[in-house]
């Protein structure tokens, strides 16, 4: 899931204060916590209140989109409304905001969220946690299914570092477990310390150079080799 945090209401208002009629678009996709029709309505009410305190009359309408990052779904949902409105505020992650700006190109879509990370909420936990950083070179087969790129504050491939004390990480004041100690324990449990002792050379960052893209229906590694051959 994409974990988002709502921006400060004053910051959102600052972006849209010059408009009179705004469309507020929730997203039913993978955003967590939920950013759907109810959240869109709440945001509309807050912005209306804020406008009133500034002596303005803000008109708004809340809708929701099945998945804002899907261009066809986004276009068919949004386009019937855009003639009537001056601007859109999207409750989706950054993907949704960019996509709405593409499919409704004659008006601007503003973000109501900060996109934080790809993460999960475990049952009983009152927090979201990042499990994958989409780094482009998955190591999970060597680390007992625990990711040191997302799980280690220093993204180390050959940890632990000296910042671990009794299995906890120096970052955050020893409140988070050290990913590499967790990896060690898990691999030891399965008698696979041979994987722990492996030396892992440096990451190849070419696959995550922005803007990252992967040609569909073609093997990415072949494309890279073709490119290098052409050079």
């Amino acid at each position: 899931m994409i974990i988002t945090e709502q921006k400060d209401i004053n910051d959102i208002y600052e972006m849209i204060k010059d408009y009179n009629k705004i469309l507020i678009a929730g997203c039913d996709g993978c955003c967590q916590p939920p950013r759907s029709i109810n959240e869109a309505k709440v945001l509309g009410q807050l912005l209306e209140l804020k406008a009133k305190t500034e002596g303005k009359d803000l008109k708004w309408r809340a809708i929701t989109v099945l998945r804002q990052c899907d261009d066809r779904i986004a276009a068919t949902t949004i386009r019937p409304f855009i003639e009537e409105y001056d601007a859109i505020v999207s409750l989706a992650c950054g993907l949704g905001v960019v996509m709405l700006n593409k499919v409704a190109e004659n008006i601007i879509t503003y973000p109501a969220q900060n996109s934080m990370f790809g993460g999960v909420q475990n049952a009983g936990d009152n927090y979201f946690i990042q499990y994958c950083e989409t780094c482009g070179s998955c190591l999970l087969g060597e680390t007992g299914g625990i990711c040191p790129i997302a799980g280690c504050a220093k993204h180390l491939k050959n940890g632990p570092c000296g910042g671990t004390v009794d299995g906890m990480c120096e970052v955050g004041g020893y409140t988070h477990p050290c990913a590499w100690i967790e990896i060690y324990k898990r691999l030891k449990k399965f008698n696979r310390l041979d994987l722990f002792t492996l030396y892992r050379p440096a990451r190849d960052y070419r696959s995550s150079t922005s803007p990252a893209y992967i040609p569909i229906n073609k093997d990415y590694t072949n494309i890279k080799e073709e490119k290098e051959e052409k050079k």
Binding site: K154, K157, N158, C161, G162, V171, Y199, P201, A202
Partner: protein
């Protein structure tokens, strides 16, 4: 692979079988005046004839300090004592690390101490973006390539050939119980990447230190055990509270506190009392390590505490003067 030659005086002394001592300098947010003090400390180290080289720290605790390359060079030039240039991989990617090491080699630096570096989140510029493009083990691989093969990380050749340096890594003896094995295995990866020596974080418990050294001895790489004489109660308290994985024994903390309290307002007496506490703790400690462990030397982190060198080291041979 054949054993790498000892390019540095530190590694030569280790190869010659001496029980070595190294010191530590911590240049902070300084320019010329601060540098003068650092050079003064280094000169005091040289006067001992026992300290073979001085570590120059690189942004400890993640703080933004002067880059360690320049002070390492200035100390070698002005104090005429070899430096162990600490390089943390926190702030530089593989391009900058390669460039810095080439620059260091050109300036005559002979020892690199490879460090991960405390996270920026612990330092005084917490909002900064970390690098960790290479981790410390991968930096060892980069140094191996530069020294043994004469290339950068990707294999592009250095025009003027190979560089002549030795490098070491650090290890934490305070990883005890179930946490010791991953710490030892981690060092093994760095041994695979060609380290010439291991320098440990400080340990205060003699049994913990000896046990850790005996475990590390399996790699047949010289080990320098870290010791940390503390010139004031405040430093001891800070170290105990804020340095990852290190706790100062309660008795030592109390003794330092008492030494300061009993001699309030009388500086010379206070200094003498503090020194006495340190000497009483560290002299037998070092002697025990030398006699009954496989350590090849002591890394003495007595930063700006030069007056303790004589009582701590005088009983040992003045081997270092033959290398200066």
């Amino acid at each position: 692979m054949a054993k790498r030659p000892a390019y540095s005086k530190l590694c030569k002394a280790l190869a010659d079988g001496h029980f070595v001592f190294t010191g530590e300098l911590e240049p902070k947010k300084i320019l010329a005046d601060g540098m003068e003090e650092v050079v003064h400390s280094a000169k005091e180290m040289k006067k001992t004839n026992r300290i073979i080289a001085a570590n120059v720290t690189d942004g400890p605790q993640g703080d933004a300090y002067i880059c360690s390359l320049v002070p390492s060079f200035v100390v070698q030039r002005d104090a005429e004592i070899e430096t162990v240039w600490q390089v943390a991989v926190r702030d530089r990617n593989r391009v900058a690390l390669f460039g810095d090491v080439l620059g260091g080699a050109l300036l005559g630096l002979k020892n690199v101490l490879v460090l991960t570096g405390d996270h920026t989140a612990l330092g005084d510029n917490k909002q900064g973006r970390i690098s960790y493009d290479l981790d410390s083990t991968q930096f060892c691989e980069l140094l191996k390539k530069m020294i043994d093969e004469g290339t950068d990380y990707s294999g592009n050749e250095i025009t003027d050939g190979k560089i002549e340096m030795n490098y070491g890594c650090v290890a934490n003896p305070n990883a005890v119980g179930e946490y010791m094995e991953p710490e030892i295995l981690k060092v093994g990866r760095k041994v695979e990447q060609g380290i010439d020596f291991i320098q440990t974080q400080t340990a205060f418990d003699i049994d913990v230190a000896k046990n850790f050294i005996n475990e590390l001895a399996r790699y047949n790489v010289p080990i320098l055990l870290g010791v940390f004489p503390m010139k004031s109660y405040g430093i001891a308290w800070y170290f105990d509270k804020y340095i990852p994985g290190v706790s100062v024994p309660k008795e030592l903390l109390n003794a330092l506190k008492k030494a300061e309290k009993d001699n309030k307002g009388n500086k010379p007496a206070k200094y003498a009392a503090l020194d006495k506490v340190n000497v009483e703790f560290f002299v037998p400690f070092i002697e025990e390590i030398k006699k009954n462990s496989k350590a090849s030397g002591i890394h003495c982190m007595a930063v700006e505490y030069e007056r303790l060198f004589a009582p701590l080291l005088d009983k040992y041979p003045d081997y270092a003067k033959n290398y200066y």
